[in-house]
Symmetry: D2
Subunit: 342 residues, 4 copies
C-alpha cells in the first residue's frame, strides 16, 4: 500500500523539452510520404515554415490545454525568442497558473493517474492527469496576482495589459527566466487571454476587488478590440493553434470583427490546429477550417488539422520549423508597442 | 451537381425538442441495469433527480458547444421554467449567437456536412457541422447587442448584468418567446458568460467601444466575484455540465475562490458532465471529477461523467428529471435578486 | 476500504433491455429536426425502417464490442424473432462468451470501473469495464463448446455450421431461452463469426483438437464462401452495423467476392453504423461508407454513420423500428435452409 | 473542377519510413520528464527496450489498422530483421492486401480525403482515408493467393502455414524485397492471422474453393493452438500492440488457452499498446491492461498504453529501440522451426 507523503510525491520536477537538442526534420520529411496523421503533421510543419517565410505574415499562436505543466514552456518561449510568433492568445491557466507560476520559482511534478485524490486533497496536492502541483505554491501565485493588481491604477484593462505587468513583475522578481510570459514581455509580443478570470488570475483579482473599493477591472471587450486592431494592421495572418477552445474562436472572429468595424481584412491565410477534438459533436474545438471558411474566417488554401495529443505533436512541429531556419529572416514585430502603454 | 441557392439552402428550420412530448423514464430505468454509457447515463439521471430533491441544493447548469443551434433551446428553457436550474454558466455563442438570436426571430437551418464552404461564404451562409445560418441575420443580432450597450450607463458590468439587459430587451422587442435568456430573465435566474466577448456579443461590443468614447466594459472579474458570492450563499451546490470548456472550470473554481476570500464553502456536492472529451490529453474538458476532487472542487460521492454527444444524452436526462417530478417541490430561487440591479 | 468477496461482487445481474417496454418514436421524430448526432441517429432509424419496407432487401446485422454482457441480448433476439434481421455476422465473444454463455444459465454482473484487478483475478472474477463475470462459469462454457465439437463428425465446418450446433445444444440443454443464438437457430437465421476461434469457442476447440486426433476444424474460407453465396442470392442487401471490426469488413467484402466469382451483385443498398470510431486513424472501424463506395462495396444513397456508444444508440434504433412496425409485412427468410445441413 | 484521371491520381507512391535515418532517442528521453502522452510514449519505449534486454522474453508484435499502406512496412521489416520481434499476429489486410501486395511489385499512392468516391469507383481506384490503390493490382494479388492455394495439398492449414507459403512465393517471384512477410519467411518468424479470410486472401481462397473440389481450408483453431504452443514454450512474453482488434484479443487469450490445456504459463510480462481507442465503450480495442490483468492475461508491472495515431507513435518507438541497441544481444528465435513444415 502506497504511503502518501507530500515530500515524496513532489519530488520529480517536470522538465521542459528543448527543441534545440534534437532534430525532427528527417523524420518529418519521411512523414510527408506516408499517410494519415504523420502526413498531416508533415503538411502542418511545411505550412508553418511557409508562414515564417512569408514576409507579410503576422503569426499568431493559440494555446489551450495544460501545456506548460506538461513540459512545453520552453518550446513556446523559444518560438517567441526566435521571432517565430508575433502574438499569443491563450487560456488563462497556461499563462497564470502554469507559466507565471513557474516564473515565480515554483514547479510542476511528475505524478501518476491512479492516485487517491482524497488523500492528495488532504495533503494540498492538486492533480492534472499524471502531474502534481503544490496547492500552497498556487496560493502564493494567486496572491502575487493580487499584489500586481493592487499596484495598478484603478481602470479597465485588457488582459494583454495585465499580462504585460506580469512580465514586468517577473523582470524584477522572477526566479526562473524560462517563462514565456517573461520572454514575450522582453520581445514586446502581446499575449491575450480572452477568459482571463477563468484561472489563478481570477482568484487574485477577485480578492483584489473584494478588498479594494477602487479596483481594476479586466475588460474582455478591450481585448477583442486590440486583437482586431492587430489583425487589421497585419497584411496577412497565420494561426498556429495548439488545442481549441476560446483562443481558437477568438482569433478566428477577428476577421469578422474587422468587417463590422468597416474594414475589409483578408481571412487568415494560414491555419494549423493540433487537436484531439472531433468534428462530430458540432462544437468549436473540433470544427474544421473548411467550416470556418464558410464564415469567412480562414482561407482553405493553407490549412491543416492534425489529430494528435500536443505533447508529442507540438515539439515535433516547433522543432521542424526551428531547424528549417526560415525564422532567421524574420524580425521582432514588437506589436505591444502598437498600444500606448505596451 | 447541386445548385447553391440561398433560399433553398435556408428552408428547413431547426426545431427544438420538447421534453414534455415523450417519456424516457422506462428506458433510463432499464439502462440502470445495463453497462457502459447507458448505465452511466442512468446514474447521471438519478444524481440529477437527487439534486432536485435536496432542499439545500442550488443547481448550476453549465453549457458549452453549439447546443441551441442544434435544437436544445427548449430543453434549457424548460429546466429554467420548472425551477430545475438556479444558475446558468455558458459559452458566449450559446447565449448571444444562438439563443438571443432566435429570440429576435431568426432561425437556424438544417444543412449538410459536405457543403462547398466557399460557395456558402459567397452566399453569406455560415455552417456549423450540418447546420446553416444566415450571416445577415447574425449581423443584425450583433447590432442589437451594440444598441443595448449604447443604451447603458458607461460602467464596468458583469456578463450577468449585460445578459439581464438582453432579457429585458427580448421582453420588449423579442419575436420568439421560447428563448431561455428570456425565460431566465423572467425567473430571475442569473446567467454568467465567463468569456462573453468571445461571441457575437463581442462584435457588437467592439463596435460600441469603437464608436463611443464613454463606453461600457465587461469585467470578467466581476462575474467571478458574483458567482463566488452565489456559491457562498448556497448551502449545497450541484452542477450539471453539458460539454466542458470555460464554464466547467469557472464553476469548479468558485469553491477555491471562496476559500481565498476566507470563507469555507463545501465542494460541489453533485456533479454531472455529458461530454465526448477524453481525459488522456490532460485538458480540462475531459478531466475527471476525481481529479477535480484533488483540487477540493468536487465531492466524489455523487459524480458521474457520461461519454456521449449531448444532442442525444441531454434530452434524455432532462426528460427523465422532468417526468420524475422532484422539481415540483422546488421554488424559484430568484438569485438575480441577490444583486443590486438584478 | 472495500472488501473483495466473490459473492458480494457477483450479486447484481445485468438485465437485458426490452424494446417492447418503451417507445422512442416521438423522441426520434424530434431528433430528425435537430442537428449533429441526434439527427444522424434519426436518419439511421429511418433508413433501417426503409430497409424493412423494401421487399427485396435481405438485412444483415453486424455485431462487435461487448454488447450482450452490456444488456443488449434481448434487443438482438427480438430483431430476429420479429423477422427484422435475416443474417447475423458477429465477433466471437458476443456469440460464445456472452450469448451462448447466458443461454447455459450463467450471468453477467454489474461491477465497477476502479476495481482492484489483482484482487479480482485472485477471486477468478473477470472484468469488462464496469461488468464482472465469474471465470469458473466461463470455463464451463468453454467445456461445453468442446463437448459439442467432440460430438461432431471430424470435418471442416464454417462457423455458421458450428453455431447452428450450439443453437441445437441450447434447444436441448439451454437454461435461458432469451439467447439470440437460440432464437436464430429456431428462425433458421444464419450467424457467421469470421474470427470464431478468437473467443471462448477457441478455448474449447483448442482443447478438442489437443485431445482428439480426428478432430473438427473451423474453415473461415467456408464462412466467406457461404456469406458471399447469400449476398449473391439476395436481390438487395442492407447492413446494420453495431461497432466495426472484422464483421464490418467481412460483410462489405462479399460484394467484391461475388465479383471475383464472376457474378455481378449490387453494392449494399443500405448501410448504417453505430460507432465511436474515428476516421482519422485510417483504420477500418471508423472508415466512412463514402470510402467504402470507392471500393464498390456500399451505395452512397442510403448510408448513415452515428457517432455514439451502442448501449444508448442501439436500443433507440431497434425500438424505433419495432414500433414503426414495417417488419410486420416481412417473413422469415430461413436462410440457414439454403445450406445442406443448415 | 478537378479532373479524375487514373494516371494522375496514382502518381505519388507511398514511401516507407526508414528508422535508421533519424534518431528519436534524445526526444524520447526528454518526453520522459514531461506529461500526458509524451511521457506515456517514453515509458512504452523503455518497456520495449527492457523486453529486448530480457533474455527470457519472446516478443510478439500485434498489428491492426492500415499500417503498411500508410508507410510502416519497413519499420516492421526492420524489427524482424534485427531480431526485435519473434512472432507477428496481424489483421489480414496488412499481411495480404498491403505487404504481400507490395512484395508483388504493386504500390500504394498518396491520395486525398475529400475525393469523389463515385468517380474513384468508376476508375477502379480504392481509397483508404488519404491513400489510393489500383483495384486492378489488388485483383492480381487475389489471384496470386488463389495460385498459391491451388498448388498446396488439400488440407486444413493454419494461417501461419499459408503465410509461410506466401513468403516462399515472394522468395521466388517477389519484385520488392522490403516485404515483411518475406523478411519473416527468411528469419523463420511465424506470422498469425486469426481472421485470415477477412482480407484479400479471402477473395483468392473463396475462388480456390469454388473452383476446386479438393481444396485447402484455413483452420483458425489450428492458429490458436500453434500460438498457444509458442506461448507455452516461451519462458516470458512481451507484447507490442499497434492498434487493437482481433490480434490484441488473440494474443491475450493464449495465457488462458494454455491454462485450459492444463499448463500453467505466466501472464504476458510486458505489454504495450499504441492506440486511439477509448475504454469508455467497453470494447476490447480500448480495454486497459489493468482490465486484462483481472482475466489473468497481462501482468500490471510493465504495461503502458499510448493514446496516439500509430503513423507517428510507432516509428518513434521502433526508432528508439533500434538506436538503444539492446537487440544486438538477441538471436533469431526461428520459431517457425517449432512446427513440422515451418
Amino acid at each position: 500500500m502506497m504511503k502518501y507523503n507530500k515530500k515524496e510525491l513532489l519530488k520529480q520536477k517536470i522538465q521542459h523539452i528543448d527543441i534545440k537538442k534534437f532534430n525532427s526534420v528527417p523524420m518529418i520529411e519521411s512523414f510527408n510520404h506516408m499517410a494519415f496523421q504523420s502526413r498531416n503533421l508533415a503538411r502542418a510543419c511545411k505550412i508553418y515554415d511557409t508562414m515564417l517565410k512569408d514576409k507579410d505574415c503576422t503569426t499568431i499562436l493559440c494555446l489551450a490545454g495544460s501545456l506548460v505543466s506538461a513540459g512545453l514552456k520552453k518550446v513556446i518561449a523559444e518560438l517567441i525568442n526566435y521571432n517565430m510568433i508575433d502574438i499569443v492568445v491563450s487560456s488563462g491557466a497556461i499563462i497564470v497558473d502554469q507559466d507565471f507560476f513557474e516564473g515565480l520559482g515554483f514547479h510542476h511534478y511528475r505524478g501518476f493517474i491512479n492516485a487517491d485524490d482524497n488523500k492528495l486533497r488532504e495533503l494540498m496536492i492538486d492533480r492534472i492527469y499524471d502531474t502534481f502541483i503544490d496547492e500552497e505554491d498556487l496560493r502564493s501565485c494567486d496572491m502575487t496576482v493580487k499584489k500586481i493588481a493592487d499596484s495598478m491604477k484603478p481602470e479597465a484593462y485588457s488582459s494583454r495589459e495585465f499580462i504585460y505587468e506580469m512580465g514586468k513583475y517577473l523582470d524584477k522578481h522572477g526566479k526562473n527566466s524560462e517563462s514565456f510570459v517573461y520572454a514575450a514581455y522582453k520581445k514586446e509580443v502581446p499575449i491575450f487571454c480572452p477568459a482571463f478570470s477563468d484561472s489563478s488570475a481570477g482568484f487574485g483579482l477577485v480578492f483584489h476587488q473584494a478588498k479594494k473599493k477602487d479596483h481594476i477591472s479586466i475588460d474582455s471587450v478591450k481585448d477583442f478590440k486590440e486583437l482586431t486592431d492587430l489583425k487589421i494592421k497585419s497584411k496577412e495572418t497565420g494561426v498556429l493553434m495548439v488545442g481549441g477552445g476560446v483562443p481558437k474562436n477568438f482569433v478566428q472572429d477577428t476577421v469578422v470583427a474587422a468587417d463590422i468595424l468597416g474594414i475589409n481584412t483578408p481571412m487568415h491565410k494560414y491555419a494549423i490546429q493540433l487537436t484531439v477534438a472531433d468534428e462530430r459533436d458540432g462544437a468549436l474545438s473540433g470544427s474544421t477550417f473548411k467550416e470556418a471558411s464558410s464564415w469567412g474566417k480562414v482561407d482553405q488554401s493553407f490549412e491543416q488539422m492534425v489529430f494528435g495529443e500536443a505533447t508529442i505533436t507540438f515539439p515535433l512541429l516547433a522543432n521542424y520549423a526551428y531547424h528549417k531556419g526560415s525564422w532567421k529572416h524574420r524580425k521582432t514585430k514588437k506589436l505591444n508597442d502598437t498600444f500606448i502603454n505596451g
